[in-house]
Symmetry: C2
Subunit: 254 residues, 2 copies
DNA sequence: CGACATTTTGATGAAGATCAAACTGGGTGG
DNA sequence: CCACCCAGTTTGATCTTCATCAAAATGTCG
């Protein structure tokens, strides 16, 4: 995938919010200094860490999670190519959750000072970053709904829709298929289900000809049906751009 | 309560993050123009709204929620005195959830332009606002964990701890008791349980001498026990101030 | 090939939903 | 002042979904 070579996914995602100038893009490109290659199930940021840099996922899947006292794990968010994990954390005294990779991951690192500069000098970028964090918040709320109100089947369908949709916005789907490098146990952490039950639901979905999941590849044979089942309404992903013109003018031009 | 007269709860909350100067505080006070008095179960902001002003809860309880297609409601956050609901929404084309009151509420309104000005001119305030939105995000993640991984009993205990702790930081607890103006049905929306089950768990808690809940007043007779049961770790509320000195210097001083 | 992780299948049990009905208590209007 | 009403709470009985435990099957990698 050509897009993954650099920070293309991030740019592509951000452009859902605002048009970025060539200069904006170049600045962003340049900000990403070193790129780390990480194996699956590696810790990216641990709960309690000070977090002095911004990681941008270039390739692969990672997740935010919280560990319970009983050793179980609840994912509280998925990080896909183009996602930042994330600047704002610098304001808090420590991370309130951990971030770890799921698949192998390539992650660019933006030093904190560079990030600050970007925010300072490129208002369009700043706005786009802000937008992306708001979207992430919205996704977290949707997860509360997902885990709280949907059956196992709907819940899984919803997660699949979300992943597919998010990957689609960064150009990482091929037809009706996309990567899904999670084991069933990992899916169960994301969905707050037991691994056994995840397996049963998967079997049922396959039996209903809704999906194929093999070799880390997810194919949605009937996306429309899946969305209906899940009650999936993509609006919470805010992919249709920003509201008005305001704010751009007065923003930090002092 | 004297504190509720004005915007005191908000200031008190924000001071958990940074020391605010008298000037900061005055600016904030002045920003709050009109104050609305709202009855219980009134809509504050509806899903899809453009949201042109920032509401600050001065008194009473409100909540963020999402409605399901089947008519059921999942709360995705609680708004207590001192909470803002919230500036950032201006960046998104529309609200992805609704906000409604639970009890009667007094809410100050900050016009969007005023809010922008505040952010522009008072970096300490800006930082404090930023901090408060990050805390809110953290709380949402905790809700995912709560709904996903805890039993009904633990879940409710956790919610009670959270509410008590949050009210405590704005000076709205009296000894071991605080307001809780939610019906059992509303609790069930927050906890993703049925109203009947909420009732049963409440009965059990009362039977165990853990709490009293009567006339919208919640008393925690054994906060320590409750925390243990809930696995409540207040760190996710980030009440112990910010990390370092950095950022204050360079922040928007250009 | 053998070790190990992952997936699959079966059997059983428990937490909580749902349905239905009775009970409480505060507020209203006759 | 009382009767009624309505929202909220309480209790009982039954049913479903999903967890848990256990073990077999499959796949993968050195």
């Amino acid at each position: 995938m050509v897009i993954q070579t650099s920070i293309g996914s991030l740019i592509r995602k951000l452009e859902h919010c605002a048009l970025l100038s060539t200069e904006d893009k170049r600045a962003l490109e340049n900000a990403c200094g070193s790129v780390r290659h990480l194996g699956p199930r590696t810790s990216l940021v641990a709960e309690g860490d000070p977090a002095q840099r911004v990681n941008v996922i270039l390739e692969g899947f990672a997740c935010r999670y919280r560990l319970q006292s009983d050793g179980r794990r609840q994912m509280v968010g998925l990080l896909l190519p183009g996602d930042m994990c994330d600047i704002r954390i610098c304001i808090l005294s420590r991370m309130d959750h951990s971030i770890g990779t799921l698949s192998t991951v390539r992650a660019a690192q933006i030093p904190r000072e560079t990030a600050d500069l970007l925010l300072e000098r490129y208002p369009r970028l700043a706005r786009a970053f802000w937008w992306s964090t708001l979207v992430e918040e919205s996704i977290t709320r949707e997860w509360v709904v997902n885990v709280g109100h949907r059956t196992a089947f709907e819940r899984m369908a919803h997660l699949f829709c979300e992943i597919f949709e998010r990957l689609h916005t960064v150009g990482l789907t091929r037809g009706d298929t996309c990567d899904l490098p999670l084991t069933q146990a990992e899916l169960s952490d994301a969905l707050a289900l037991s691994a056994v039950h995840v397996n049963r639901v998967l079997m049922e979905m396959r039996h209903n000809q809704l999906i194929t999941l093999r070799n880390q590849q997810l194919t949605l044979h009937d996306y429309h049906a899946l969305r209906i089942i899940a009650g999936f309404d993509a609006r919470y992903l805010h992919l249709d751009g920003i509201k008005g013109p305001s704010f751009t003018a007065e923003q930090r031009t002092a």
